[in-house]
Amino acid sequence: MTVAREVSKTPALAAERQRAPSPAQFRIPQTLWVRIGLIIAAAMFVLPFYWMANSALKGIQELSSIPPTLYPHVPAWDNFVSAVTYIPFGTFLTNSIILTTGVTIGAAISNPLIAYGFSRIRWPGRDFVFGIVMASIFLPFPVLIVALFDIFAKLQWVDTFLPLIVPAFFGNPFFIFLMRQYFLGLPMEISEQARIDGANEFQVFLFVILPLAKPAVAVVIIFAAVQAWGEFLTPLLFLQDESKYPLSIGLQFYRQSHDVAYNLLMAASTLIVLPIIGLFLMFQRFFIQGVTAGSLKG
């Protein structure tokens, strides 16, 4: 019995030695150093959020103690209740959700459609026009704000959600690029077959290609939602009535009085940041795909 065991073990050990010729004593400290470096760097990216949560859970007195306490000695959980009642948090949250939903729907509809026209149909001048799409990425948005404000004012769109939502229905160069990359990766024969079967181009798009591109659409939806949730400049420009503010603009009101309620501000920031972190944890794969979609070719 012992002999049999020995025999069965030996080849595996030999193979292992062959694969990793360097002695174990040398390897362990090296990965240890790497790990220490990684942990320190990761800490620098995580600590701001730890400090946010730490400050969110401190009472006003503990917050003003010097030196600061490294964890909340008396956790003030009711800060979260105060945070959402100190300002009209519910109204701001509702507005943020409406805006995010509207922008996301617009992005999900427009970008696949536009990208299809730039990838699955070959028409003269296509690559030139697509070059303009890409060039518009490098146009700083603030260049447009004066004119856009005046245009939207004349349309009576100022102080409505329209200037924030409607443009999303006309595509975004990043998302067009991302969807196009995905469409280009699907074999052209699929479309040919559907056309032979009598489908018109829109049917090919809607019933054949789009279902195959669900992962790319998911990436667009996720990034559009994340972007809309964090949007600051456009609501600041185009909304005036406080009852229409999303959270990004509404948070200013924690600082309206001379005593800034920093702990409540941090509690509110925690509530704003958490959904995004949750979204990331749920859809990690899509985030990574979204960022790296085009770069492998570049």
Binding site: F49, S110, Y116, V143, V146, A153, I272, I277, I288
Partner: protein, 310 residues
Amino acid sequence: MIAAPRFRLSADDRRNLRTALPFIAPWIVGFFAFTLYPIVYSLYLSFTHYSGFGDATPAGFENYQHMVSDSLFWQSLGNTLYYTALAVPVGVVVAIVLALMMNQNVREVAIYRAAFYVPSILPLFALTFIFIVLLNPGFGLVDYVLGLVGLPAVNWLGDALWTKISIVLLAQLGAGGPALIFLASLRAVPAELYEAARLEGAGPLRRFYKITLPLITPVILFDLIYGTILGVQIFTPAYVLAGGTSGGGAYTTGPENSLLFYVFYLYKSAFQYSDMGYAAALAWVLFVISVVLSFAILRWSRQWVHYEGA
């Protein structure tokens, strides 16, 4: 432009164009309505006096002439270029370092990747609020840690010397996004190259400079240009840090106007001083600056970007 060569097109081409047009129509409409027309309209407004109400009156070159003698214009431009010149190179280096770290062969690497990446997708306004607390001289973590290691406390947000440094630091929380793009390009480097260099006795530093760095130069170029475009439009952190509208409608711009960035000044000109004509002129100058900077970087990059022959 697209329609001009039409009669030279074959029947197939014309049919394809007709098929494609409905698909790209939303982009065409949006591009004209929300990009091209506003740019042209800004150019027109920049030659007028216009308060946003009533009619714009012709002003010739007055807005542009005013700029030359406007010390706030020069200060905001200086602040913005100073910030960009600092934040962009730092950002590229940090992103590359993060990408190298994300590429380490340790089992729990996914955790580090998440830690580096997640801050980059969080709302910038929320990160700014977090920084206000983090950098507070009383209850902030940063000055506390500086004190522990025996360094003097820094008045990050109250001292004109440090306010822009604070925003450069804040911007690094977003480095995880570009780091992922760098990571993808690191992974595309053929392993045989490293193997061959190793056999010739090249150490890790030499392998980085001779193999990795040249192969990721196209991504560095993209990050430099895109970072510069983002840099010159820096607004949100400055607006939030400086206190936004608190204090009754007058926008504070940080100690000694150190947070008066170009777009902040543009915003104030348009919406606080109701000088839409001047703001439009500022917008056009920003447009020209960003185009010039992009092309300058592109030109300079010919000396160092490595394009694969294949």
